[in-house]
Symmetry: C2
Subunit: 144 residues, 2 copies
């Protein structure tokens, strides 16, 4: 298995609402039948019905809206961008679940949930520099 991810699919209960939310944050989706695809760097972020997504993976859909055990993070280049994005997410119909706060090593982050409860961390982390195109290369921690 090559160490890479091709798609991240978020199960949603209202496709139009979920699309509106991400488009309000600046993403541009393509709708194909009952699926919305967003290009996200070198992979695709996909919105699809939660029940169908579960069935397609051979799983029971269970309860929507709870913590699913996976958190997506969007790192930005400054603390100001963290604050701005949390505000934007709230305005777009998300819910800020953790206000931004500073941690050791210059780390500054908060979190929001999208309309289906999918969690996003928004972080400024000087230890994980972003390339101009937004890709993130982990440091070699042994040399830090």
């Amino acid at each position: 298995m090559e160490p890479r991810i091709s798609l991240i699919t978020l199960g949603v209960t209202d496709l139009a609402r979920a699309r509106r939310f991400y488009e309000a944050l600046g993403w541009r989706g393509q709708k194909v039948e009952e699926t919305v695809f967003f290009q996200a760097g070198g992979l695709g972020l996909v919105l699809w019905g939660r029940e169908k997504l579960a069935r397609d993976s051979g799983r029971e859909a269970g309860r929507a809206g709870g913590f699913g055990g996976i958190v997506l993070a969007h790192n930005v280049r400054s603390r100001e961008e963290v604050d701005a994005l949390l505000g934007q997410a709230e305005q777009a119909g998300g819910r800020v679940t953790k206000s931004a706060e500073a941690s050791p090593h210059g780390f500054y982050s908060g979190a929001f949930a999208d309309p289906d409860g999918h969690p996003w961390e928004v972080a400024h982390n000087p230890g994980f520099p972003l390339a101009e195109d937004g890709t993130l290369t982990l440091p070699d921690f042994d040399t830090l």
Copy 2:
């Protein structure tokens, strides 16, 4: 918000077990305190305690092991690779939750759950070509 994802963090109940699983599939992690980081193309895949991850996002951790509403997909270049990876995931301690099957448009996919129940689709999709470095660029669906 730029359309990109910096990190995907999987909440786990046994960090060593989760790391062993991904390393058995060929990933190489770096452990930093109670976290394991894997470089995954232009982003990082991270393993961290489920309870801590939930708390850090301002959420209740809830029940582990159920369907969390997010599916990661790993696309490969042939049907044979789909079958091989599902077999490898099972041998490594995962669970095949959907055997590989063919769908229209040449699509061929199956799914496994990692030891914490996080779902992965494994797919060969001729409509979503992979670059040599594994990055996936969505087609312009209007022109298909």
